[in-house]
């Protein structure tokens, strides 16, 4: 077994064992001195490409996840929580693109008040968190997304979000029910 193979085994074991994404820095603490954590990660990702479990880059690190195409069969045996309602997804998108943002600003953008249930749903999943207060009358709390937001949607960083201009290039008809993406549960 070459030393590199041993590095691969260590990285595999560490990422497999971890409950969340593992960063290159964390990995290099386990690897012998001088080992290239990024290269080991890339080799590991290549090894798992196309398998039932894949190595994905998420929230600034790597994490093993089941291949998306298997979800259909896995849902038979794995308990799947409800998807976020449309209102929560819209609120989340507004927070993600305009953070840090106050509740009042979110309500202005949507032209509707933000219900406690929506905020609770986002908080419960840990997708958003208060990030200080705005220096304006009443000092309203500012909201932003969390690392859990990145992990939840399989994003490596906020830069992975499409540019706002590009969002509008897509015809709005994607909303009218393109076949492949399932609609949010609440209808």
């Amino acid at each position: 077994m070459t030393p590199d193979e041993q590095h691969l085994r260590l990285a595999e074991a560490m990422v497999f064992a971890a409950a969340g994404p593992v960063s290159a820095r964390q990995l290099s603490q386990v690897l012998p001195d001088g080992a290239d954590a990024e290269a080991v990660m890339a080799a590991l990702a290549a090894h798992y490409a196309g398998r039932g479990v894949e190595l994905v880059r998420v929230a600034g690190g790597v994490q093993f996840r089941t291949a998306p195409d298997l979800a259909f069969r896995l849902r038979r045996v794995v308990q799947v929580p409800r998807r976020l309602p449309r209102v929560a997804m819209e609120t989340l998108a507004i927070i993600a693109y305009h953070q840090p943002i106050t509740r009042g600003d979110i309500e202005d953008m949507r032209g509707a008040s933000l219900s406690q249930a929506t905020l609770d749903a986002l908080l419960e999943l840990g997708l958003v968190a208060p990030q200080g207060r705005r220096d304006s009358p009443g000092r309203p709390a500012l909201w932003g997304t969390t690392p859990a937001f990145l992990t939840h949607f399989g994003l490596n960083s906020l830069r992975d979000l499409p540019r706002r201009e590009d969002l509008l290039l897509e015809p709005p008809d994607v909303a009218a029910g393109s076949a492949d993406d399932s609609p949010p549960a609440d209808g």
């Binding site: 994905v56 093993f64 819209e90 609609p183």
Partner: protein, 261 residues
């Protein structure tokens, strides 16, 4: 997809209209839905047509149910103003206020449309726990070493003071025994005094001086009575009480008194 059938085309069925209005997340939501019925590109929609559609929907809803929410009516009023300005006869100078307001409305709708697209983009991602799954049984290699002590000098000082305060507190709370005239005290006093008194004397004359509290006085009376009874039992004392609860008189016992005490 959730509200894509526009309400604008549905003004015939009034019942359905009401339901649909309540399904919208506010006036902006309805406006966006109406706008999407017109054009793919929000920049090219006819604001005038949009305004008319909205006002028609609100009017239809208001006919059925008057208690429309305030924000729906505020929006309707604002749009009615916008409409009146946009309808100025051709040839007059364009109303800059109205054009600006129309642009603001278009921009707001575009921003909301953007965010709706972003929400759809997010929802189409392989969502963890929905479409992809992380390890169900993570392993934790963290070991906790509790062998070290978390102690510091302030803690030691606090402990010392707490111990001493508690000990001191216990001492000060111990109640001092009340200074009461005991039977032994009374007996000694009776023995000393009884020979000096020639005849019957009241019991009170044998009480010690300086009885401060009523409790001390009652205790002294009781002790002296018990002591005198004890002396009478041995014949050294005679007691007399004329009536119930009357004053008790004492006298030194004599041999000829016998045992009629």
């Amino acid at each position: 997809m959730t509200t894509s059938d526009t309400a604008a085309t549905d003004q015939g069925g009034t019942g359905a209209l009401l339901v649909r209005l309540e399904g919208f997340e506010g006036p902006l939501d309805l406006l966006l839905e109406l706008a999407r019925g017109q054009k793919v590109d929000l920049a090219q929609i006819s604001i005038l047509a949009l305004v008319e559609q909205y006002l028609a929907v609100i009017e239809g809803a208001a006919r059925i149910r008057l208690e429309l929410a305030a924000d729906w009516l505020v929006m309707a009023a604002w749009l009615a103003w916008l409409k009146s300005r946009l309808l100025l006869p051709k040839g007059t100078a364009p109303d800059e206020d109205a054009e600006g307001a129309a642009e603001v409305l278009t921009a707001r709708l575009a921003a909301l449309q953007q965010m709706r697209a972003a929400a759809l983009w997010l929802a189409a991602r392989p969502v963890l726990g929905q479409d992809v799954f992380a390890r169900g049984l993570p392993e934790d290699f963290t070991m906790t070493d509790r062998s070290r002590l978390a102690v510091d000098l302030p803690g030691l000082m606090r402990g010392y003071l707490a111990a001493l305060r508690r000990a001191a507190g216990q001492r000060s709370y111990r109640p001092a025994p009340p200074a009461l005239w005991s039977v032994q005290d009374a007996l000694a006093r009776l023995v000393a005094l009884v020979g000096q008194l020639p005849d019957w004397s009241t019991l009170e004359q044998f009480l010690p001086p300086h009885l401060a509290s009523p409790l001390q006085r009652r205790a002294a009376v009781a002790s002296t009575l018990l002591a005198s009874l004890e002396m009478a039992r041995g014949g050294g004392m005679r007691l007399r009480q004329e009536w119930a609860f009357g004053p008790i008189h004492l006298r030194q016992g004599t041999p000829e008194d016998g045992d009629d005490a």
